[in-house]
């Protein structure tokens, strides 16, 4: 949970989350990508999917060929939801990279996993993940996610 005063970018995030949040969903499994996209669209989200951490970072503008966003410090997305177990860059690695970025660190990151491993969950939450969800996800999980995100903004 973040502490400190709400910056203008946090406020913008909060407002966007109420209307039609833009979510980046990262998963190496093609079926899970399709499912999470549908779940999010059913909850009025705009969705971009990525099949791995590298593509996700590229989309966010944090890739190897870094470019500075001329629009200032407002992030493209309101939420990132990522699978934990991915080859190469895991969801945890991706989370760390996002939290290291001055532009992206305010963006809530949710980790999903098919395995309920307490040490894994704690590790992610400690690194700053907003929530940890067990797959397969249901519509009720996405509803809960939206409620949680709206309520956590102070």
């Amino acid at each position: 949970m973040e502490s400190g005063s709400a910056s203008s970018s946090s406020k913008a995030l909060m407002e966007n989350i109420v209307d039609q949040p833009h979510v980046l969903a990262v998963d190496d499994n093609v079926i899970d990508r399709k499912l999470v996209e549908k779940l999010l669209k059913n909850s009025s989200c705009k969705v971009t999917t990525a099949e791995n951490g590298t593509r996700a970072l590229e989309f966010l503008g944090l890739g190897d060929h870094r470019h500075n966003s001329l629009e200032g410090n407002v992030s493209k997305v309101n939420l990132i939801i990522t699978d934990y177990c991915m080859p190469g860059m895991t969801g945890y690695d991706l989370l760390k990279k996002i939290k290291e970025s001055s532009v992206m660190k305010e963006v809530p990151v949710v980790i999903m996993s098919s395995e309920n491993v307490p040490t894994r969950i704690n590790k992610c939450l400690e690194e700053g993940a907003q929530m940890f969800m067990i797959k397969p996800l249901k519509q009720s999980d996405i509803k809960r996610l939206r409620c949680h995100l709206m309520n956590s903004r102070t």
Binding site: I31, S114, K135
Partner: protein
Amino acid sequence: MDAISQWRKQWFDYIQYLRQEKGFLDDQFVQLKKLQDENSPDFVVEVISLFFQDSEKLLNNMANSFEQEVVDFKQIDAHVHQFKGSSASIGAMRIKNVCVTFKNYCEAQNMDGCLRCLQQLQQECSVLKNKLEKLLNLERQILAAGGSIPVLE
């Protein structure tokens, strides 16, 4: 009972059979159906097709891995992990359970156990494909006649 009602009952009985009696499908399949709406009327068919396409690829990759001089159990485990994920996501319970066993054999580097599981997966996929085709055909029949598919809870 008119034709539509009969088909609807057939559909319902068949789903019960697939779920309760034989454990082919679990609750996640019901969740999957709930995702379909007017915006995406073919959603379930698309997901199921994608699943079987992906399965075929994974099964071929696994079979190839076993034919190598040195079997890379970690690589095979990675494929099984994918398969376990996909099958869990569509509610293919029996397939998912075989994947769990398969993963254990991979970890133990038990060749015989792995090969048995691979064969089992091939069989289960084939059987499930037939069952789901039957279910989906029944649905098409009901819809074509102007009826609606029962809603599962």
